[in-house]
């Protein structure tokens, strides 16, 4: 079969579905968007969903060229086999229900299969923007393992975002339906044994929604570990792994098992094993974090040792079953799972004037406020302004009345956090969509407000934070004036917050930020008080509101002293340390507010 016939004939797409309602529509839309000039023959195999997936499939099938094969629960391998048997075209793309392929995905994989010696090709997985910590670790790990593969030749094609040559599949007898996990590895090994080549196509990107949370991760790893042993039992020579799962990774659980076995005899030996494994993972983690620019890699030592323990548990269960002579019981790879509540789309900020309220917290800023207000009126006429006069003891109150701006006057000094909470509540009650915070001392450039609002207007984030350091110019702003001790504390604060929020934070004490509709409503009740900026970042991350950083310039304050003294910062560091422990343990503050 030549490439031209493949191209003119089109591509069959096989998608096994079980309880995939949250992603199904996005996944199918992406498949159709990726079709280009090809005729698509999409076959969704419904495998006993209980969450309304079948209804979604039927709705999509009514509008698009798609067939739905519904059946009882048989497992992913069997579902895919029935899809492959029903496929019309010589090329079969296999896409999972939680994978969103990019626009050029289909074309790139078809091109990779031009050579008839190649039987299967796999695209590259990327992370969704709103992935949780465990999903990020999984994604970064995979990215790093892909990066370690030289060239495009591989001996392992994972299912989920791959394309197969139908004739090759039929020649070797399709997927092994007795396997619950690892059926894709098994198929790959058999294709290689039959003399075919396999390819990895880095350019064909797709976004995979990995399992979220500790339980989801453990469950998935348990299944993978269990499947891996099934696989090794079937292909003993593959005990050393393959291109995607290197030998080192296979050694890990064995070493952990040895450590557990040795515990009663020599605890030192067990500790040494764990230490060696942790160091190995830490090195890999740092390199992966650098490579992918995602600090989640730094969690490798913890998360991967957890993975090893789960694998050992899976191995033990497998052995126990074998010893009792029970039939091998495949683990279902499509078991129902919990979904993160966060919907990836943030409601965007409406266009048009007077939808955004500028909030300026001020304490004894009578000297600078007139200039700040004048500048705002000059460059942002659309922006309504509300000054938060936090218990000033100077002329601020009378200055405000003379200026004719709206303001909230607090009889006592409540702190910026409390003032912001009141300001945001005012904004929410008055029907504003968004809010911007800038300081009353004139250190934030009003010209940059639109830059801050831009990601919110496009619905990319709930909160955008102006960072004075993200440009990396150490000469600007506070860096120049702050002492080295201050910079050190601030940097450690940034590192801690990056680790906890799983997102790079470069300016943890920035007071220049903008809030979208969801954030305004949420923070009107929950804006942290005390030392609010770092705690705000923690709160937002805990409640899955998305944050972006925007590079801004910093000007010297017009008058007054900085509130960033070393003692304040150090106290803040301690408070954040406490919050880092406490906030994740707290229940998310929101119930249904932003669903």
């Amino acid at each position: 079969m030549t490439s031209t016939t493949a191209r003119s004939a089109g591509v069959s797409v096989v998608m096994p579905v079980r309880n995939g309602a949250p992603w199904l529509r996005a996944a199918l839309d992406a498949v159709f968007a990726s079709s280009g000039d090809f005729d698509l023959d999409v076959i969704a195999i419904e495998d006993g969903s209980t969450d309304g997936s079948l209804e979604i499939l039927e709705q999509v099938a009514a509008a698009r060229p798609m067939r739905v094969l519904a059946g009882p629960r048989r497992g992913a391998a069997a579902a895919m086999n029935s899809g492959i048997r029903a496929a019309r075209y010589p090329l079969i793309a296999q896409i999972d229900q939680d994978v969103v392929v990019s626009r050029s995905w289909l074309g790139q994989l078809v091109r990779a299969l031009d050579d008839p010696a190649i039987a299967a090709v796999q695209g590259r997985y990327a992370l969704p923007a709103n992935a949780g910590v465990f999903a990020r670790v999984t994604g970064v790990d995979l990215e790093w393992r892909y990066a370690a593969m030289r060239g495009d030749d591989t001996d392992q094609v994972c299912t989920g975002n791959s394309m197969y040559r139908a004739s090759a599949l039929h020649q070797i007898g399709l997927f092994d339906e007795t396997l619950g996990y690892g059926y894709d590895n098994d198929l790959s090994y058999r294709l290689r044994a039959a003399g075919y080549e396999l390819r990895f196509c880095r350019e064909a990107r797709s976004i995979h929604h990995w399992r979220e949370g500790l339980r989801g991760y453990c469950r998935q790893q348990y299944g993978l570990g269990y499947g891996r042993i099934d696989l090794v039992a079937k292909h003993p020579r593959r005990a050393t792994g393959d291109a995607v799962s290197p030998t080192l990774m296979m050694l890990h659980p064995i070493a952990i098992a040895a450590g557990v076995a040795a515990l009663p005899f020599s605890p030192i030996f067990s500790i040494a094993i764990v230490a060696v494994l942790a160091i190995e993972r830490a090195i890999a983690g740092v390199r992966a974090a650098r490579f992918t620019n995602d600090p989640a890699g730094l969690l490798f030592p913890v998360v991967h040792l957890l993975r090893d323990v789960v694998w050992v548990w899976a191995m033990a269960r497998w052995m126990a079953r074998r010893l009792r002579g029970e039939a091998p019981q495949p683990m279902a790879s499509m078991a129902p799972r919990s979904v993160s509540r966060h919907s990836s789309r943030c409601p965007p900020l409406g266009p048009g004037p007077h939808r955004v309220l500028g909030l300026i917290p001020a304490h004894n800023e009578a000297a600078t406020l007139p200039r700040v207000v004048a500048e705002l009126r000059a460059c942002c006429a659309d922006l309504d302004v509300l000054i938060l006069d936090d218990g000033s003891t100077d002329d601020t109150q009378w200055v405000l009345q003379d200026l004719g701006v709206r303001f909230l006057h607090f009889p006592n000094r409540m702190g910026i956090g409390s003032a912001m909470r009141a300001g945001l509540r005012y904004a929410a009650r008055m029907g504003y969509d968004g809010a911007v915070r800038l300081d009353g001392d004139g250190q934030h450039d009003a010209e940059e407000i639109e830059r801050l609002l831009a990601p919110l207007r496009r619905g990319l984030a709930d909160v955008s934070i102006g960072s004075r350091y993200s440009r990396g110019d150490a000469e600007s702003g506070e860096a120049q004036r702050g002492s080295r001790a201050i910079r050190f504390v601030q940097r450690s604060l940034a590192v801690m917050l990056s680790l906890v929020t799983g997102r790079p934070v470069t300016d943890p004490t920035s007071g220049f930020c903008a809030f979208g509709p969801r954030a305004v409503r949420f923070l009107a009740e929950h804006h942290p008080t005390g030392y609010p900026e770092p705690e705000l970042l923690l709160l937002l991350s805990r409640n899955r509101l998305s944050v972006v950083e925007v590079a801004v310039s910093s000007r010297p304050r017009l008058a007054g002293r900085t509130s960033l003294t070393l003692t304040r910062l150090a106290t803040a560091g301690l408070r954040v340390l406490l919050a880092i422990v406490i906030v994740p343990l707290r229940a998310a503050a929101v119930g249904s507010e932003h669903d």
Binding site: L386, F410, A422
Partner: protein
């Protein structure tokens, strides 16, 4: 065998108990916060009536000198009470903050209505 120390101890405990109840009666102490004091007073009264309870508890805990167990108990109680008050203080601080925020918003709204 009632001795003078015991009579004084019972007297002091009774005075404490009665003054707490009196404060509650005059509404100088809200029931909620009086509870911890009532428990303290009742505990003291109990210990001064049944003195051998303290002796026996000290012996079973391996405390050589029974009155030091009493001191330990008092310190623990004071700690619990302080913690309890910190909780109340934090809650009141939050309430004051909310109230101040609301008054600020309300007075701003009134200012705008006057215009």
């Amino acid at each position: 065998m009632i001795d003078r120390v015991q009579i004084v101890a019972i007297g002091v405990s009774l005075v404490l108990l009665i003054s707490v109840l009196e404060l509650v009666r005059r509404r100088k102490l809200v029931e909620e916060y009086s509870l911890v004091w009532l428990l303290v007073a009742i505990g003291m009264l109990g210990l001064s009536i049944w003195r051998d309870v303290l002796d026996r508890a000290a012996r079973s805990l391996g405390v050589f000198y029974p009155p030091s167990l009493l001191l330990l108990l008092v310190i623990v109680l004071v700690f619990v009470a302080l913690l309890f008050f910190s909780v109340i203080l934090s809650r009141q601080r939050q309430q004051i903050q909310r109230l101040t925020e609301e008054t600020a918003i309300l007075s701003a709204e009134i200012r705008e209505l006057k215009k």
